[in-house]
């Protein structure tokens, strides 16, 4: 009974029969280098590599890795896939690290680094990077990769930031303050737009994009021991003020109600393309996406400016990005992992993908980063701030998302929602301590 069935399936798959990669290809789906190279390193990577879904980028990476492995002919790299859910991915890596089966080398999201540093699963990169190289890193980057013992535990190679995009036809001047933004939003609604769009649902981007409004006032989510402080004293006043700013945008109609469900930067591109919005809080990478989506004449109307603050002088923006780190107990592999970070990712990969470098000197080195847009992004990065390096951050973020949903839908008073978020964050902190 199963034979026919299995036959049908086999036939179905046979139709998809792959073109088998020839054995001497230097870069295949799951191997970089020659299969008989004596040393082997397992590298778990995102699509920032030869598996990128954009053919040009994939080719670019393929070439980078080919050149790299030619310089290290006695090595082969086994590549592994990383899925999108960062929470599950980090739990898996922690578990694997404990049972000794973590990859030798892996891409690690910058905001997960503190957790891995705390769990003590990363190996020091300090011996493999020169002091000058480390000093060239932006301060928030350097802080992010440095452990409590002063050693560096990862190489953070790309970063990003949030800016305010606007359609100049509808919003001619860049809003500098919260008030400016609200007025601009209301004016755009009068012209038939939806209003300002931003992430407001249960999504990491919600916290990340909004928290700049809190930081701009000098607020802190956690103290230097990683203990949540955003709900007490001075910080609480600033926090509530920043939440009320968003709440007011929705209640006044400057932002549509649906922001409470937006949890994806692509939605802004769609709204821009559909011509229903003139303002949104987005990431620097979206400029390229808008360019490829909109007609040239439409695209010409769009520009970006730094996120508005409570006053013109108080500004901030959230920065993220990816790092490369090593879990291996074999010093040779740690060194080789550092080589990958330096020779493939630190600079060349930034150029291939147009992702912002983390070293000030690289902006001059590569032509693509000398463009006026990238220079502007580079300047905005000076006000950049990374998410706090505390293991409790993911739960704080989760609580901020819950709070934001309650506030933006008007389900709860701001004060109460903030208190609840703080209490839950403190409880999580106590558990993790």
């Amino acid at each position: 009974m199963l034979k026919l069935f299995a036959g049908a399936l086999a036939a179905g798959v046979a139709l998809l029969a792959p073109l088998v990669a020839s054995a001497d290809d230097l870069v295949t789906n799951n191997r970089i280098g020659l299969s008989n190279a004596p040393n082997k390193l397992v590298f778990r990577m995102t699509t920032d590599g030869p598996a990128n879904n954009m053919p040009e980028t994939a080719e670019g990476y393929k070439k980078l890795f080919e050149d790299f492995i030619k310089k290290h002919p006695d090595w082969q790299i086994e590549t592994q896939l990383m899925t999108g859910d960062i929470g599950q991915e980090q739990a898996r890596m922690l578990e694997q690290a404990k049972s000794g089966s973590a990859p030798d080398c892996a891409a690690v999201d910058s905001f997960v680094l503190p957790l891995f540093k705390k769990a003590g699963v990363l190996k020091s990169f300090s011996p493999y990077f020169k002091k000058e190289e480390v000093e060239q890193l932006f301060p928030f980057i350097r802080e992010g990769v440095t452990g409590s013992d002063g050693q560096i535990y990862a190489w953070w190679w790309s970063t990003d930031l949030r800016v305010l995009y606007r359609n100049k036809d509808i919003v001619p001047d860049a809003p500098q303050t919260w008030d400016d933004l609200k007025k601009a939003g209301l004016a755009s609604v009068k012209k038939g737009m939806e209003g300002i769009l931003f992430n407001g649902s249960r999504y990491e981007g919600t916290t990340f994009d909004w928290v700049a409004n809190f930081w701009a006032q000098g607020g802190d989510l956690v103290d230097k021991d990683g203990k949540p402080v955003f709900g007490e004293g001075d910080n609480k006043a600033k926090f509530v003020k920043a939440v009320n700013f968003y709440r007011d945008l929705v209640e006044s109609g400057a932002a549509p109600k649906r922001v409470a469900t937006i949890g994806n930067y692509d939605d802004f591109n769609a709204a821009a393309a559909a011509g229903t919005t003139a303002l949104f809080v987005g990431g620097n990478w979206q400029l390229g996406q808008l360019k490829s989506t909109l007609d040239a004449s439409e695209f010409a109307k769009w520009t970006f400016s730094p996120l508005p603050g409570p006053t013109q002088g108080e500004r901030s923006t959230g920065t993220g990005g990816w790092t490369v780190a090593s879990f291996s107990s074999d010093a040779k592999k740690v060194a080789f992992c550092a080589d990958i970070a330096r020779e493939v990712y630190m600079g060349p990969a930034n150029e291939v993908q147009g992702q912002l470098p983390t070293r000030a000197d690289l902006y001059g080195k590569y032509k693509v980063f000398s463009s006026p847009e990238n220079k502007a992004f580079g300047e905005a990065l000076q006000k950049g701030r990374a998410r706090p390096g505390a293991p409790v951050y993911p739960e704080i973020s989760n609580q901020i998302q819950i709070m934001m949903g309650k506030v933006l839908t008007g389900a709860e008073a701001t004060d109460k929602a903030v208190d609840e978020a703080f209490a839950a964050s403190m409880a999580a902190y106590q558990r993790l301590k």
Binding site: L4, F5, V13, Y265, A270, A271, A274, S292, T293
Partner: protein, 280 residues
């Protein structure tokens, strides 16, 4: 005459209902197809445009020409088919025993069996990973298959038991009196008569295995061993590299083998039914 009219009216209602249901089930899939046919330029239009202005098959080409994708599919097929067969081997005798043999506290044992399924698979995965690592069953298709079977067997046993309950016990007894062994009764009478039940248990187990994410995600890291449920995320891109169009195409293609399986099984069931009717 009256019954003919009645049947016609029934047909009309049937068609109406089928049309509504078709709309419900197919509409989202049409959107998925729309995404899969888009170019990179049009993907960011999202829901703002249903019919792409410049439709392209490039995404399907990219998927179908990737040896990686084929390997994900083959692994998924292997794991889900093996586990479904294994699940039947384990569940059928158990279902027969639960249906036919007198047992103390049978209801409690049936519930006990089901309770394995009631514990959140999510939470169990962490101790499961630790356990499987300690018995060296990670990075192995056998290990994953066994876990799939363990996950699916309570449901399969329940479905099969319900089915076997529907087969009159007098058939067993007659055969036993004729000198047939217990196993003979099971193999020659029960198994053939429960074909529809076996088929539905099989389909359910195959599909459960096909859509597994957590188990292979935790137990397998080697790309060559990965099934489609995890491999699909290769096409999901990252926030600043949206590749929804490729992901949509990958999702659609990944459905094909399971549907082929279903349709061929359906023919088998219908065949068995008619054969049974003739015999009866």
């Amino acid at each position: 005459m009256k019954s003919v009219t009645q049947a016609r009216i029934g047909d009309i209602f049937s068609y109406l209902f089928m049309a509504v249901m078709m709309l419900f089930f197919a509409w989202p899939l049409i959107w998925l197809l729309s995404l899969a046919l888009r170019s990179r330029k049009e993907i960011y239009l999202g829901v703002a445009r249903l019919i792409p202005h410049e439709p392209t098959l490039a995404n399907f080409q990219a998927i179908l020409s990737s040896s990686q994708f084929a390997s994900y599919l083959i692994n998924a097929l292997k794991l889900s088919t093996l586990s479904a067969i294994g699940c039947l081997i384990v569940a059928l005798p158990a279902a027969y025993a639960f249906s036919r043999f007198p047992m103390k506290g049978k209801g409690a044992w049936m519930m006990g069996l089901l309770s394995f399924q009631m514990i959140s698979p999510l939470v169990i995965m962490i101790p499961l990973y630790r356990y499987m690592a300690s018995i060296q069953m990670t990075e192995s298709h056998i290990g994953v298959t066994m876990v799939y079977i363990a996950l699916a067997v309570p449901t399969a046993t329940w479905i099969l038991k319900g089915f076997i309950d529907g087969i009159p016990a007098s058939l067993d007894e007659a055969a036993l009196i004729d000198g047939c062994s217990r196993f003979g009764v099971f193999w020659r009478i029960i198994v053939p008569l429960s074909t529809p039940g076996i088929a539905s248990a099989f389909i359910i187990t195959v599909i459960a295995g096909w859509s597994q994410f957590l188990v292979p995600f935790l137990l397998i890291t080697k790309d060559q061993l990965m099934p489609i449920g995890v491999g699909i995320f290769q096409y999901a891109g990252t926030q600043n590299d949206s590749s929804l169009q490729v992901l949509a195409a990958a999702c659609l293609v990944s459905v094909v083998p399971a549907i082929v399986a279903f349709l061929s099984l359906q023919r088998l069931i219908l065949g068995a039914m008619t054969a049974g009717a003739v015999k009866g």
